[in-house]
């Protein structure tokens, strides 16, 4: 505990920063709560993408840069298929497409690279990213496509008695949060309670050792990439419903990077908590910190939320390199 004081100190400083707008009266309470909730809801969506990163890293030790591209590919598939069939059928077929993709990636990219350095596998996923981005758009198109989950887009006002003007809640965001919670529960059960889940964890620890005790490495990789593909599909459908399905969806993955840095690459819980911290942090920074910085230092101005997410991640990286929930890596020498 004593060694954790930098983390405690950083968390305390962030909490103080978080409370400042309210404490100094810079923000009305209602608005503050709205920004906070908005940040949490966005954070949940980041978590969904980050979970895909964590899953593959946890199970195969590969940092899958292609996760964002997979989100886009899955969302494009569902959106275009839904034009020709009911949404549920499109989602099911989308899952089939993602599993097929997992097979192809395992066969073409991963299998030839078994037992290679992590960086080689990472570079391979970089290649997969560009391929999927381009191939997805070539096959499915580059326009903005719609996914309609049938959830009302109009906001709902709650707590009108407590705050002036009420608190604005978006039903779509709430649905996304519920889906994320359900997904985490299912994944936790899968990893902790099933034989396949345990085998996946063994593979993550050491490819060669896992192979030597008879765990079929190739099959495990197909399974984990399939699971990550399905997670990508869920994230893609929710993001796509909010933003429309288009290339930009893949850029959301760039927001998931600070999330996994902060939460820890090996932890699904870390992805969730990291997502929430990044979501809240960037929204609070954009709304409250940005204008103060511009005014105080007479800056040119501009959005700060994009880079602030990385500042937060870097701060955590400095005090806890393995991330908040990551496993500490110890090498014997």
């Amino acid at each position: 505990m004593a060694r954790n004081w930098p983390v405690v100190l950083l968390c305390a400083a962030l909490l103080v920063g978080l409370a400042l707008p309210l404490a100094t009266g810079a923000s009305p309470p209602g608005f503050y709560v709205e920004v906070l909730l908005g940040g949490l809801m966005t954070g949940v969506l980041y978590s969904l993408v980050a979970m895909g990163f964590a899953l593959i890293f946890k199970a195969s030790g590969v940092f899958n840069f292609a996760q964002g591209a997979m989100v886009l590919f899955a969302a494009l598939a569902v959106a275009r298929l839904a034009e020709r069939m009911p949404l549920w059928a499109a989602i099911l077929l989308g899952i089939v497409v993602m599993i097929a993709l997992a097979f192809v990636i395992e066969r073409v990219v991963l299998r030839p690279l078994v037992n290679q350095e992590g960086i080689a596998l990472f570079m391979a996923t970089l290649g997969v990213t560009f391929f999927l981005d381009g191939f997805g758009q070539t096959v499915w198109g580059s326009d903005i496509y719609k996914i309609d989950l049938g959830i009302a887009k109009e906001p709902v006002m709650v707590l009108q008695g407590l705050f002036q003007g009420g608190i604005l809640i978006n039903k779509e965001d709430v649905a996304a949060a519920l889906v994320a919670v359900a997904l985490v529960a299912v994944l936790a059960l899968f990893f902790q309670k099933t034989a396949t889940g345990r085998a996946l964890r063994a593979v993550a620890d050491d490819h060669q050792a896992a192979q030597s005790i008879g765990i079929p490495l190739n099959r495990m990789w197909v399974i984990v990439w399939s699971v990550a593909g399905i997670v990508a599909l869920v994230a893609g459908v929710i993001w796509g419903s909010r933003l429309g399905v288009q290339f930009s969806v893949s850029l959301v993955a760039l927001k998931a990077l600070p999330v996994v840095i902060l939460g820890g690459l090996t932890s699904v819980t870390g992805a969730i908590v990291g997502g929430l911290i990044i979501g809240v942090g960037e929204k609070m920074a954009e709304v409250f910190l940005g204008p103060v910085l511009v005014k105080t230092f007479d800056l040119a101005g501009g959005g700060i939320e994009n880079w602030f997410a990385y500042v937060l991640a870097l701060l955590f990286l400095l005090v806890r390199p393995q991330g908040l929930f990551g496993e500490k890596h110890i090498d014997r020498v």
């Binding site: 077929l93 758009q137 096959v139 906001p155 604005l168 978006n170 429309g244 288009q246 709304v287 959005g303």
Partner: protein, 479 residues
């Protein structure tokens, strides 16, 4: 604008045939790629194939005028880049197929994908500037960022940079920016028109005092351009200007719209591009901001900007200049000479949409500039330097607009050596849930008494920084 005539029905049928052909091509290809993928639609792939620069070989002999086409068919801004590029290319193809080129000089072109990224745009510029027997005719960078980057190069390469409705506002001053042509309007014009318009509906610009106007802008050179004008007008009329930047690509705007909800501005001006526009409208729905109090610049008022928001976009307004949606005589010609021959650049869905038509007008003005320059330099392939004369002596009057089949899609425009923008006029169109409806009786002209001194000061500063000697237009005209 759209006449439901037998001809247009026939056109639609033809387009459907073209689309069917595209789909057939796709299915064959997709089946070979993956079984699962074969369920997708193929128009996009077919369209990309059509958009490939494969037509150069068709041109013959030495009589070729080369047009570089900087476009973006992939990436975050593709939904807006695709229809523009399709319109641009279809018109160039039309001139070849219908007229045999520009007074007999055939057009060749090559597309280069910029992805709306400045570095790739500069790379495309460098790659294409020397192509063709006389080099590039002119460039349409289709990005303010790329425009800023290649402006300095244009002085050396002597190739015009045409940025109609975008680019540097101060480049109107042809005596300093000798190679830039912000034809038809700049962002200062657009911002001025919008302030005038909301002033008018508030009961006069003096009634704007105490009101709040929020500018939700793309955090890039493009989005920042109108700020200077809006600040100037704010000083004049006393409205409060809220500046809300949105970082590229603009898919995350929750913080922005929560601030709008808190500040409750009377009007929101939207200066977005690509997916940022539709996201803004969606967030406006999600935070309950009335769409009829939102006004987009002319780059935030096309079909891809509103359709993703569904019914939520109803009532949203935007400036429209040069080319609203719809079809006219030129479209019939494109159907007849380009689509019917199986040479269409795009799929039928985008045909006649706002950005398709704007691309078409852009190509037409470029072609007319060459035609104009041929009067002085002869009916032969011209260099960029020679085409500049055509661009700064452009005179497209109402009769010419009618002759070219563009009636209803643009207003007359004439330029000069001093004034590289020419006439600037715009209207407002509103999305009714299905289509853009141009508001009747709204014709907006920017107040040059405000803008001219700003252009002068900014161009002066640029000339000082870059050590540019002002051109003497009077002397040049006598040569």
């Amino acid at each position: 604008m759209i006449q439901d005539t037998a001809a247009s029905k026939r056109s639609t049928q033809n387009l459907e045939e073209v689309d069917m052909m595209h789909k057939a091509k796709f299915v064959g290809l997709a089946a070979g790629l993956a079984a699962a993928v074969a369920f997708g639609t193929g128009s996009a792939l077919a369209q990309d194939k059509k958009g490939a620069p494969a037509k150069k070989a068709a041109a013959a002999g030495g009589g070729e005028q080369f047009f570089p086409v900087l476009s973006y068919r992939t990436g975050a801004y593709a939904p807006n880049g695709i229809p523009f590029a399709n319109g641009f290319l279809d018109y160039l193809k039309l001139v070849n197929a219908r007229d045999g080129g520009i007074n007999g000089v055939r057009i060749t072109f090559e597309e280069c994908e910029t992805g709306y990224a400045t570095d790739r745009g500069v790379e495309c510029y460098e790659r294409l500037k020397g192509k063709g027997p006389t080099g590039a005719t002119l460039f349409h960078p289709l990005s303010t960022g790329i425009t800023f980057a290649v402006t300095d190069k244009s002085f050396v390469d002597k190739i015009p940079i045409v940025t109609f409705g975008y680019g540097r506002a101060d480049s109107v001053d042809g005596t300093v920016f000798g190679w830039n042509f912000p034809l038809g309007g700049t962002y200062w014009d657009a911002a001025d028109m919008l302030v005038q318009h909301v002033g008018k509906i508030s009961g006069g610009v003096d009634k704007l005092k105490g009101k709040k106007i929020a500018l939700v802008y793309h955090d890039s050179p493009y989005g920042k351009e109108p700020i200077a004008l809006l600040e100037e007008r704010s000083r004049m009329h006393g409205y409060q200007l809220l500046l809300l930047p949105v970082t590229h690509p603009g898919v995350e705007q929750k913080a922005t719209w929560l601030q709008i909800r808190q500040q409750r501005p009377d009007y929101v001006f939207l200066w977005g591009w690509g997916v940022m526009n539709s996201t803004s409208i969606k967030e406006a729905v999600a935070t309950g901001y009335p769409r009829n109090q939102m006004y987009g610049v002319w780059w935030s008022g096309a079909e891809p900007d509103v359709t993703p928001a569904g019914d939520g976009a109803k009532g949203y307004n935007a400036l429209t200049f040069l080319a609203p949606a719809g079809q006219g005589q030129v479209h019939k010609d494109i159907i007849k000479y380009v689509h019917d021959k199986g040479d269409a650049t795009g799929k039928k869905e985008g045909f006649g949409e706002v950005l398709y038509n704007r691309g078409m007008v852009g190509a037409m003005m470029s072609v007319e500039a060459v035609r104009r320059a041929q009067i002085r330099h002869g009916r032969k392939p011209l260099t960029g330097e020679q085409v500049r004369w055509g661009l700064e002596n452009l005179a497209i009057d109402q009769a010419a607009i009618k002759r070219l089949g563009f009636e209803g899609f643009m207003t007359p425009i004439s330029t000069s050596c001093v004034d590289h923008r020419g006439d600037s006029e715009a209207g407002i169109h509103t999305w009714d849930g299905k289509q853009w409806v141009v508001q009747k009786g709204v014709r907006l002209v920017a107040d040059q008494a405000i803008i001219r001194p700003m252009i002068r000061a900014s161009a002066e500063k640029y000339a000082g920084e870059k050590k540019i000697v002002r051109r003497d237009c009077a002397k040049e005209s006598q040569q």
